[in-house]
Structure formats: structure tokens, C-alpha cells
Amino acid sequence: MTKVTLTVNGRSLSGEAEGRTLLSSFLREELGLTGTHVGCDTSQCGACVVHVDGLAVKSCTVLAQDVDGASVTTIEGMANADGSLATIQQAFQDHHGLQCGFCTPGMVMSAAALLKDNPKPTEAEVRHHLEGNICRCTGYHNIVKAVMAASGQDVSGVGIAAE
């Protein structure tokens, strides 16, 4: 076991990791942050997306020891300081961008990464960006709507071109 220290959502946290400990397991089991979900554990679904030093990654395919010292943002770090939902999270609620909610942490983290680089994405850009995030429930249109709404754009036409 080796000690790994991360700055998670602004707080310095440490825990023990084996060579094989994945960042997803480290966050969930060692640090108790279970908002990061593990859907496939095969790098396909994106439920496990977190930001490492500002970049979105699939935490099921990153070794905890490989990112020792990094700054990590998880879904637990997304809400506003007063506990209210962040704009993206609120948009998912308003636009019914989730049903069971299992994929939602990864969707929100992926969407946040997109909006940081591209504050007003087109619908096509949102769909392209979310290629690595799989949702078994909602059928994507409402997720895309939520991301467009979070960027302050009109969403009345979203999904029409795609249908």
C-alpha cells in the first residue's frame, strides 16, 4: 500500500492505494465519495467521469497512484457553496435530463468540461461531446436539452433535427 494524496473538491485528502487501485475505487471506497458511479468498469459508459487537473477522465481507467498530488473534481464538488444545485445540475432537473440517475454524475462532469471550453455549443457539438457517456434510460434528447439550457440557449428546437 502506498499513500496517495489528492486535492478533492478543494480539500486535501489522503488514503492508501495498491498499484491496481483505480481512481474510481479510491474515491468511492477510500474517500467515501460515492457520487462517482461505476457503470461498466470497461472505459465505455462514462458514469465514472471526474476532472483531474481540469480535464475530464474516466476514473475507472486511471490508477490512483498515477494521479497522486493531482486536483480532482467530482460530482460532490459541483453544487454551489450554499448547497443549492449548480446551473448544469439544475438544468438536468428542469429538463428531465435523468430518469434513474445512474449516468447523471458522469453526464454532468462531461457537460461541465464541454461548457468550460465552449460556453455556447451547438446541439451537434453537445451530442459529439457526449459520445463517451451512455444513458440506459432517457434517450439523450433531454440530456442534450439540459446542457444547451445550462449554456443559456433556447432549447425549443433540440432533438428535432436528430429525430
Binding site: G19, L63, G132
Partner: protein
């Protein structure tokens, strides 16, 4: 996944030294290696991370060459190669998804030589040079069939040098579930001729389509390929496409790449 020792050296020399140990293997982005270890297809005793070695990262122009560090992630190539070699940047920007592009690296992709991977096509079509800790290997000698390369045990790729073409493009017929290439064609036009490399199609991995190259070297237009078709012998057949289908795609994707080349 079986457990292993993890080391993260800061220099190429230290990485090479660590790789001399029993059953040690380099880890770059981990986007291929870690899933294969989870499936227990691979069980190294030591993983030597290359992600802490600054000398292996970055994109830089040297005369008419674009030199890319082996541990440079796809997302960085997509951005930083855009001005000098736009077709290569576009290829990098179509690999997998944004999270895969933030971790996966060019060195890992070339060392792995997946028969459906994107980078081997650009590397072979550009006549690039693969630089390792001990030597330089021409792309024509580097790829030695599916998942097989000229790399020796413990040898690591440090950089890839791409001669910048006059015109080039990559056309990828995406396999929608894996997002790899069902068949992809990279076409690059140089002063002394045109090179065409095909990925995703052959049982032998990436290959140069010589008939296509000859036709395009005398007339660089999609029409020059009319009447030419690749043979289905040795093409991959699986539930996504028959050998005939892939052979047909060789022509189609090469035409599309020529039409898109700039």
C-alpha cells in the same frame, strides 16, 4: 486485475532502467492496457508510468517535420498539430471520445498497433519515423502485423517524427459501438508521390494500398481510383463487416480522403 508494483519515473533513463526488471511494462494513457489487465489478458509485475516524464510530451515543429512526444495525449495533438498538420490533428480529434482523448497517447497507440486504430494509418501514410530510447525506426519497418511491432522488450517510443505533406486527409468509417475504424484511409501527398495507408481492414493490420498510391501519384483526384478495388483476400471478417465489405470500403474511404485532402 492482479496487483502489481507501480513506479513513476521522471526521466526516460529511469523508465528504461525500471523496465529492465522482470515482467515490467510501460503504462502511458492506460486506455488500452488497463482494460486488458482487468480482463486478465495481461498481468505485468511492475507498471512503469510514462505520464510523469515531461521530455515525452509535446508537439513541436522542426523544419518540415512535426515531432510529437510519445506520451502526448490525443486531445493535445488535436489542438497543437492543427496549424502544421491539420489532417493529423483531425484524426486525433476523432479518436474515441473526449475522456479517451484526454488520457490516451500516440506512443501507446503505436506500440499497441491495434488493427483498427487510427494513428498507425497516419504514421505509415506519412512515412513517419518512430524514435525510441535506442534507435529510429521507419514506419514501413515498424508495423509487423496485428498487435505486433518492431519494438524490443523494454524499448520505449519517445517521439514520432512526421514529414509534413502538401495535402492529406483521414477518412474513417466508424464502427459505432467501439468508435474505432471499421475501415479508415489516410492519404498523404508529398512532392515525390502519394502514400495511402489503410487501417481496420486487414488481418495483417495497417497496410499501404500500393495500387491506390500508384494511381494517385500520377493523378491526385478521386476519379483516378475509378475501376480500382482492393482484394478481399486477408481482410477481416466479423459481425461488423465481411472481407468483401471491408475491401469495398478501402476504395470508398480512400476516395473520400482524396476529396477531403487539403
Amino acid at each position: 486485475m492482479y496487483n502489481f508494483d507501480f513506479v513513476k519515473p521522471a526521466s526516460v533513463a529511469d523508465a528504461v532502467a525500471a523496465l529492465a526488471g522482470e515482467e515490467a511494462q510501460p503504462l502511458s494513457g492506460g486506455m488500452t492496457l488497463l482494460p486488458s489487465m482487468k480482463q486478465r489478458l495481461n498481468a505485468p509485475a511492475t507498471l512503469v508510468s510514462l505520464t510523469g516524464i515531461d521530455a515525452l510530451k509535446g508537439v513541436c515543429r522542426e523544419g518540415n517535420m512535426l515531432v510529437i512526444g510519445a506520451a502526448t495525449p490525443h486531445a493535445v495533438v488535436a489542438k497543437e498539430a492543427a496549424a502544421d498538420y491539420p489532417a493529423l490533428a483531425a484524426l486525433a480529434g476523432q479518436i474515441g471520445d473526449p475522456m479517451v482523448r484526454n488520457r490516451g497517447t500516440i506512443g501507446g497507440s503505436l506500440a499497441n498497433n491495434d488493427p483498427s486504430a487510427c494513428y498507425p494509418s497516419a504514421t505509415l501514410a506519412s512515412g513517419a519515423t518512430i524514435v525510441t530510447n535506442t534507435r529510429e525506426i521507419a514506419a514501413d519497418d515498424f508495423f509487423q502485423g496485428m498487435f505486433s511491432t518492431a519494438l524490443h522488450e523494454g524499448e520505449i517510443i519517445t517521439a514520432v517524427k512526421f514529414p509534413i505533406p502538401e495535402k492529406a486527409a483521414y477518412a474513417k468509417f466508424m464502427q459505432p459501438a467501439s468508435r474505432f475504424a471499421l475501415t479508415g484511409a489516410f492519404v498523404a501527398k508529398y512532392a515525390d508521390g502519394v502514400r495511402v495507408a489503410i487501417t481496420g481492414a486487414s488481418e495483417g493490420g495497417v497496410f499501404r494500398w500500393s495500387e491506390g498510391e500508384a494511381a494517385l501519384s500520377s493523378n491526385f483526384s478521386a476519379e483516378a481510383l475509378n475501376g480500382l478495388s482492393a482484394s478481399a483476400d486477408g481482410m477481416i471478417g466479423d459481425l461488423h463487416g465481411t472481407p468483401d465489405y471491408r475491401a469495398h470500403l478501402v476504395g470508398v474511404m480512400t476516395r473520400r480522403a482524396v476529396a477531403a485532402a487539403h
